[in-house]
Amino acid sequence: MKKLTWIGITTTALCLTASLAFALGAGVGRDGTIVGKKGKAKSLQQLIDMYDSTGCIDCHEDAHNDWAASPHARSIYGTGRAAATMITAMKNGFMSWEYSGVEKTKDIKVEHWMGCMKCHLPQLADAEDKVAVELADTLLEWYDAAVAAVKDPENKKAIATRDKHEKTLTSLNINCLVCHNRMAITHKWTDGYPQHNVVYGLNDGAHDDEKFPKMKRSLIMDESIFCGQCHGMGPNLELENPTQCATAYGSYMWAYRADGGQESCQECHMHKSGLGHKILSYSDPTMIDMALDFKVHAYASQWLDGSTLRPKAVVNVEMVNRSGHGIPDG
């Protein structure tokens, strides 16, 4: 009887070990990542806390302020339009597709969201499926409350609900730890997995922070592939149902580097533009100046045939894209 009990425990232990290894996937060092150490988030708040970057502000205030003014700081909310588009992607996308397995929001899994969140919130992959449901419900409740508040500006309940969810949605973003830890290494079997206690940047050394006491060089932090992880190549064919948003990195590789272009995303969008961690694009006056040569010349011409006259202004517009990717793009 005793022997049988031990066999039972051993079997259970083996199963647990096997399932943990399966959940983490292949590769050495995955267990040292932030999610490897903390386990998957069980709520949106846990996911926010898992990548909480407020500890960076004291020493990196300028970078933080730049980032706070950037689209990365509101990567799923945007101006509200991005959040509304997430809802459209959900309703017109995986909730309407016959084979997605989603009929109601309770059916949504993290995998369903990754068409959007691969880039808008890559850390969602570090959450349990019930967080995907919570995200869907939060978006829907936010939208309903926002519409109700527009219809009736005195509706305090709607305003409070809208503001509460807006705070949650704007706290889910591409922040310091997402770039300087989670996404800082693309070639993980070559360079190792980003470790939970390390911030990755341009230098090696000690880092004056209790949670992140080490600083390591990320070999891609100043390379375009770092940005290309999200500002991508076109269709995301690795997904069960491919999506397509950004094609900038594809254009950068095949239309810019292929023609001898040498600069990186960071050189233009951060350094030469002086934008730092704002990393802006089409809406920024400096980036607009840098992006394009624009010349116009015009003249008058009168076409005459018998008694028919066609006087006209001929306007020639000449443009040369000086950026490293197609315009427009994203």
Binding site: A255, F294, M319
Partner: protein
């Protein structure tokens, strides 16, 4: 601009990211490539009776104020559009022109 292809099949455009997987065509500006656009903008004309009783056409206006604007439209409409460049000039039919003996065209 890049026109995304609906589910990467056929010739219909897809709008939402969840339904796009290819490109139908791309009329955008590509790195280092010169793009030239020519616009022919016609002056209004009117018919007049000539001294010999025939009709001829003359320009109803001698000058045209031309404005060229380049807009970046992130959503394909004027919603959130950003004005990138603007050029203005008055184009005159009389600039560099000389009187003609023809019964139409520039005034004598």
């Amino acid at each position: 601009m890049p026109t995304p292809r609906l589910m990467a099949r056929g010739n219909n455009m897809g709008r939402g990211p969840y339904e796009k997987s290819s490109i139908l065509e791309d009329t955008g500006l590509h790195p280092g490539k010169k793009v030239e656009e020519r616009f022919d903008i016609f002056f209004p004309v009117e018919e007049i009776e000539t001294d010999d009783g025939k009709t001829a056409q003359v320009a109803a206006e001698r000058e045209m104020d031309v404005t060229v604007q380049l807009w970046y439209k992130p959503f394909g409409t004027m919603s959130g559009a950003v004005l990138w460049r603007e050029w203005q000039e008055t184009i005159s039919l009389d600039k560099k022109s000389k009187p003609t003996t023809y019964p139409s065209g520039n005034p004598q």
